[in-house]
Amino acid sequence: MYVAVKGGEAAIDNAHRLLAEVRRGDPAVPELTVAQIREQMRLLVDRVMTEGSLYDPDLAALALKQARGDVVEAVFLVRAYRTTLPRFGATEPLDTGGMTLARRISATFKDLPGGQVLGPTFDYTHRLVDFALEDGADPAPAAEAKPEADAAACPRVTDLLGQAGLLEPSPPDEGAPVGDLTREPVDYPADRALRLQGLARGDEGFILALGYSTQRGYGRTHPFVGEIRVGAVELEFTPEELGFPVSLGTVDLTECQMINQFHGSGAVPPQFTRGYGLVFGQGERKAMAMALVDRSLRAAELGEAVVVPAQDQEFVLAHCDSLQATGFVEHMKLPHYVDFQAELELVRRLRAEHAALAAEPVQDDPTLREAAE
């Protein structure tokens, strides 16, 4: 007799209870706190905030705990929460020039106003496993420096280059409303603001690989790191009833300004062009890769031939979102009985015809052959 193999509510409930138990792990080991994740897994928290498009370190840390450390799953939790939040407006454009810097480096100038500030970085560490960490020894206190909050003291490299006309100017802010790809379906071709939104939310691994591909000949852009800056920026909002901006607090950001060679055209003299990356928290890898891909996606605008994946905005934007990608890839584990049955029936029929044909003496039917050719 046929035994029902199809799901059932009890099976789902039991699977979720088991998941909760496995998530906790060995009960003899103390449970992680959200604050521990927020403070000690900060770069992971930053990534979840960036790809989750929501600046909330506590929520991102909680999502990571619930997701057993699975980044995409944590991003999923944050996004599904974000989608229910009301929108009450857009902030003033951020002034990253006024950033309270934790780190600021330029690869294009040895020294510049404000200097090079290394800040907390893995760069120049030797990647030797530090077994002392196993016992959790407190690190030696860090050296102190006065924070530089003055934009004039530490201007953005792109502003310095822009003054001399060597770098294309940023398009002027005309106050036009900025699109929101979470509130409007993307209509191709998408403008740069929408593309940057997509890249910022995009999967770090995917954006990294695409950026890397431009360095290996798939759409070379001759990039230089004009500047990477990491730090806190004040967020300002103008409520309609007040009519002037008020501060909402600060957000930690990483900004990358990539400077790319450009030979000019009949109308435009030779100058450098921009690629831009911006992420929450400290995320230099993502910000740099994003800046490379941003510049690549400007190919059509700058009169370059669109021939490689990193220049193709439909390819990049339609596939960079980790949630869309993982959902659709993983949906393959849902039942597909009826479609597979349809394919089974076809393959069986084709095989039967194939066998019948092989058994028959060869007849050369010229009309059939013509149709097949």
């Binding site: 007799m1 046929y2 029902a4 193999v5 199809k6 799901g7 059932g8 509510e9 099976a11 789902i12 999923f76 996004r79 599904a80 974000r82 989608t83 229910t84 009301p86 979470t182 509130r183 409007e184 379906p185 993307v186 209509d187 191709y188 071709p189 439909e314 339609a318 949630l323 869309q324 993982t326 959902g327 659709f328 890839v329 993983e330 949906h331 849902l334 039942p335 597909h336 009985y337 009826v338 479609d339 049955q341 349809a342 394919e343 089974l344 029936e345 076809l346 029929r349 084709l350 015809e353 149709a371 097949a372």
Partner: protein, 293 residues
Amino acid sequence: MSPQGTVTVSAGTGYNFAYLDEGTKRMIRRAILKAIAIPGYQVPFAAREMPMPYGWGTGGVQVTAAILGAADVLKVIDQGADDTTNAVSIRRFFTATAGVATTTRTAEATVIQTRHRIPEAPLTEGQVLVYQVPIPEPLRFLEPRETETRQLHALAEYGLMHVKLYEDIARHGHIATTYAYPVEVAGRYVMDPSPTPKFDNPKMDDCPALQLFGAGREKRIYAIPPYTQVRSLDFEDHPFRVQRFDRPCALCGAEGVYLDEVILDDAGGRMFVCSDTDHCETRRADGHTGEAA
């Protein structure tokens, strides 16, 4: 759909009735109305991020959430069955967020959300069938670019599709598309019926129920209004044909229905049973039996 669409708060969940906020529902309803006005045309809509994964029915869930009223009776099926895991999960979602009545009986449902099947029992006026759609663009595997396919639809330029079907015949002697078989709606747009087996295509034609299609990841909604002509693409000398099973359902003896193949042992033992569980159960309750029952 019920007229009491103004019910908003769902008790105890902290979320709005049927999860989505009313502004989002209105946006989706506008897209649905446009889709009904232009049968088979894919209307872009601002699909939200839902608490279930893309590719698992977020489009269908959003359409259902937008049309659901407190008096509705909801049925959710996957592969024709009410008890497949994802159908259970989606039905629970609406029980929790909307508190609507649910059923497994096709005839009792006012809204039926489905993945991969159309129920065997004929649908009636006033019912709404909501399809979950993975890839709404019928031309996608012939032309990957949205900018191109939109133009092809605008120009009703479907030569690519006919060439593809012709090449199938030239190569295999048959059209080798067995599910997601393209249809022409109301004599104009070529449409993807979602990955239902082509067996179900004839049920879409002149159907008394409203058929709505939601694709969340691809952010598209399309529709077939009641009593609309839906024609499966074919050629005069190779007319459209549906799959046939050479045996009836082993449990209820039904013929002319879509069957699931169940492997019984490792010695080639198989049985074929109705994919539509409600249809099978109803028939058995009426006294029909198959060889294995």
